[in-house]
């Protein structure tokens, strides 16, 4: 050799040695870890076919846990499908394969890795579920990993039902794995990252065949499998990396990157832009002034509403927390002071709690979702039940049930609520009644309430219970409604009030 080239060759040799010795090279050249390797099926080796019909898939791990086709319709060997390599295709309908018996998750530990592409929903039993791998014991399925369209699903055969563990990209190759690292915790990994840890039953699978692409029932995979690797131990991050390295090199797919939006979106957006642009300009030109006006008005209202809600929310939050604190403090003082001042402290806590309750009511009436009559009735039923629960009175609440979508204004909601609660409250406090009836009726565009009790009644010519009745009357008048009171001492009380809708 030319002496001038010798140093060059030496340098190249040196570089080569360094590169070959580096971890990168090791991961590129190395195969997969072999310690506790139970099963290794790869579509590019050991597949026995008749034409393209797959008959056997021979285990490359050295354990000879070979898989054979168990269905009448065999899966297909599709060549040149993934980086020039073949894959085994399952039809989502009636294909199945099965290895000879061995134990998955011995000592309740193990790792299962599958290189798979889901092509679509399976067409069996309307469930759309496709199995990657599963195993079973006498009573049924022990565990099953698969997908239902865009969701990866794990099924735990002992009692619990299948539940989704992560998303799955249909139409894309993925490396999915299960890693059982404790008796009851399974981890699900996809494309190199742990997606989801979840709880599983504390079971020990028996020595049984591993079913491929089916679970023995109808849930057949509609997709392709390139490789299946099963370990009888937990594969740590470092070793997983080397396995991914092996996959990346073999299949030339970057299994580590998360889904990125396909470039097609950009293309379509770019093509549509000029077309859209022209359309927009025309519409804008025609409707410009009108739109502007409407938008400005809506915006103004929206801002007002937002601001109103923000203020009320902050106010309520502050007041509510403050009142809660008062309750805490009174209770703690009560315990320190014993019976001394107990009544006053109880009054403080009672009042504070009532205020918190009033706040809740205000929040209810201001909430834009509670507009209709139906919702008022639902809320009234609950509130009145709460009031009357420990009142010692038999009560009947009879409010219309049929769909009433009539909208009420804020004042109407609030006042009807307050009036009804006040009248019932008075009855509880002063009437000593045994029975009370609260009834409502919708007739001829008006809402009428009727409250009757069989208590001791009162003289309606006198003002009763402070300004209670007066307040109630003015509230009703505020709503443009009418109120009638009928009572005599010893003859119970009847209240009728109505507003027009």
């Amino acid at each position: 050799m030319n002496t001038k080239l010798l140093p060059l060759v030496a340098a190249i040799k040196k570089i080569l040695i360094t590169v070959l010795a580096s971890p990168l090279a090791i991961s590129l050249l190395a195969q997969i870890p072999t310690d506790s390797l139970s099963l290794w099926l790869k579509a590019d080796k050991g597949v026995v076919v008749s034409g393209t019909n797959v008959k056997e898939w021979k285990d490359q791990s050295g354990n000879n846990f070979h898989a054979a086709t168990t269905s009448v319709t065999p899966p297909q060997l599709v060549s040149n499908e993934l980086n020039g390599l073949p894959v085994i295709r399952f039809n989502g309908l009636d294909n199945a394969m099965e290895t000879v018996s061995f134990q998955t998750f011995p000592n309740k530990r193990g790792t299962v890795i599958v290189v798979v592409k889901v092509r679509g929903l399976g067409s069996t039993s309307g469930v759309g579920y496709g199995t990657f791998v599963s195993t079973y014991y006498n009573k049924g399925i022990t565990w099953q990993m698969g997908s239902k369209g865009p969701l990866s699903i794990y099924y735990d055969g002992e009692g619990s039902s299948g539940f989704p563990v992560a998303e799955m990209s249909v139409g894309k190759w993925a490396v999915v794995s299960l890693r059982r690292e404790s008796d009851t915790i399974m981890q699900y990994l996809r494309d190199g990252t742990v997606r989801f840890p979840f709880r599983i039953s504390n079971n020990q699978p028996d020595v049984n065949p591993l079913k491929i692409a089916s679970n023995g029932r109808l849930e057949v995979l509609n997709g392709d499998i390139a490789e299946i690797i099963v370990y009888g131990r937990v594969i740590d991050e470092k070793e997983m990396n080397s396995i991914y390295g092996y996959f990346n090199k073999k299949y030339q797919l970057a299994f580590r990157s998360p889904d990125t939006p396909t470039q097609k979106w950009w293309l379509y957006a770019l093509l549509l832009l000029p077309v859209l642009g022209t359309a927009i300009i025309i519409t804008k030109y025609i409707a410009q002034r009108k739109l502007k006006k409407q938008l400005a008005e809506l915006e103004r209202l929206r801002e007002l509403d937002k601001e109103r809600q923000r203020i009320s929310r902050e106010m309520h939050d502050d007041i509510g927390s403050g009142l809660t604190q008062i309750v805490m403090m009174s209770e703690s003082v009560k315990s320190k002071m014993g019976s001394n001042g107990e009544k006053e402290l109880s009054d403080i806590t009672d009042t504070s709690r009532k205020l918190v309750n009033s706040m809740s009511e205000i929040i209810w009436s201001l909430s834009p979702e509670n507009k209709t009559l139906d919702q008022l009735f639902a809320y009234l039923r609950e509130q009145l039940n709460k009031q009357l629960e420990y009142s010692g009175m038999n009560h009947k609440i009879d409010l219309p049930e049929n769909g009433n979508n009539i909208s009420l204004s804020n004042e109407q909601r609030r006042n009807i609520l307050l009036i009804t609660k006040e009248i019932v409250n008075n009855a509880i406090k002063y009437s000593s009644a045994n029975n009370i009836l609260i009834q409502a009726e919708i007739k001829n565009n008006s809402l009428a309430f009727f409250v009757e009790d069989d208590g001791k009644g009162f003289d309606i010519n006198k003002i009763y219970g402070g300004n209670g009745l007066k307040n109630i009357k003015s509230r009703i008048e505020e709503l443009g409604g009418k109120m009638e009171t009928d009572s005599e001492p010893g003859k119970g009380s009847r209240f009728k009030y109505s507003i027009s809708l």
């Binding site: 563990v165 990252t193 809740s360």
Partner: protein, 210 residues
């Protein structure tokens, strides 16, 4: 006295925490009562050693009470979670239910009612107001089912929610539908569980990551 093995309180306000701890210890035969001032610590400790019932303040510094519930329920699905709130605001409570809570408690609740609420949870009950029932109905009436793993309600469960959304009490509903109170409670629990599963699947679909 109600007997419960272990209870945890996660609340950052000292006064509220002491008040609740005091009331619980006085009125419940509880073997172990654990208290935490923040979600992060509570999460670590409760994942390691769970309790039967845990009370979470919604507003915590750092991780929120609701997020904490979401994470704990993934590894300890049987841990019953209650949220502590100032008001019974349906929005907040609904978020808590979706995350995995089974009940809520107002912080200012008088002692007897606190114990009652905890005892109810212990018995398999789960309170639900008409407003919350309405929110649950909405959640199950999604216009576009973006999630193929969506669990629908049974006819019975739908009926139950209808009645609840109208403000009828459990007893009234039990009578109306000719079933027992226990059955009503079980139905509500099942509805909550479906709500949680759907919410979890929804979240997974959206982000793909946790």
């Amino acid at each position: 006295m109600v007997k419960i093995d272990s209870i945890a309180i996660i609340e950052d306000d000292d006064k509220v925490r002491h008040y609740l701890a005091e009331q619980i210890q006085l009125n419940i035969d509880v073997k172990e009562l654990r208290v935490f001032g923040d979600a992060e610590t509570a999460l670590k400790e409760l994942i390691a050693v769970p309790v039967d019932i845990a009370l979470f303040d919604v507003n915590l510094p750092g991780m929120s009470g609701i997020e904490c519930i979401r994470r704990i329920k993934m590894l300890h699905p049987k841990l019953q979670c209650m949220v502590l709130t100032v008001y019974d605001k349906p929005d907040t409570i609904f978020e808590a239910l979706k995350a995995g809570a089974i009940s809520y408690l107002l912080k200012s609740t008088p002692a007897e009612k606190i114990i009652e609420a905890i005892a109810e949870v212990n018995n398999g009950g789960s309170p639900i107001s008409s407003q919350i029932a309405r929110k649950v109905i909405e959640a199950f009436t999604v216009k576009e089912k973006t999630n193929e793993y969506f669990q629908d309600l049974t006819r019975r469960e739908q009926e139950m929610l209808e009645q609840l959304s109208k403000g009828y009490r459990y007893k009234e509903i039990a009578d109306k539908l000719y079933i027992s109170l226990d059955t009503v409670r079980t139905h509500i629990r099942n509805i909550y569980e479906k709500l949680q599963v759907n919410s979890r699947a929804e979240a997974l679909k959206k982000t793909g990551l946790l």
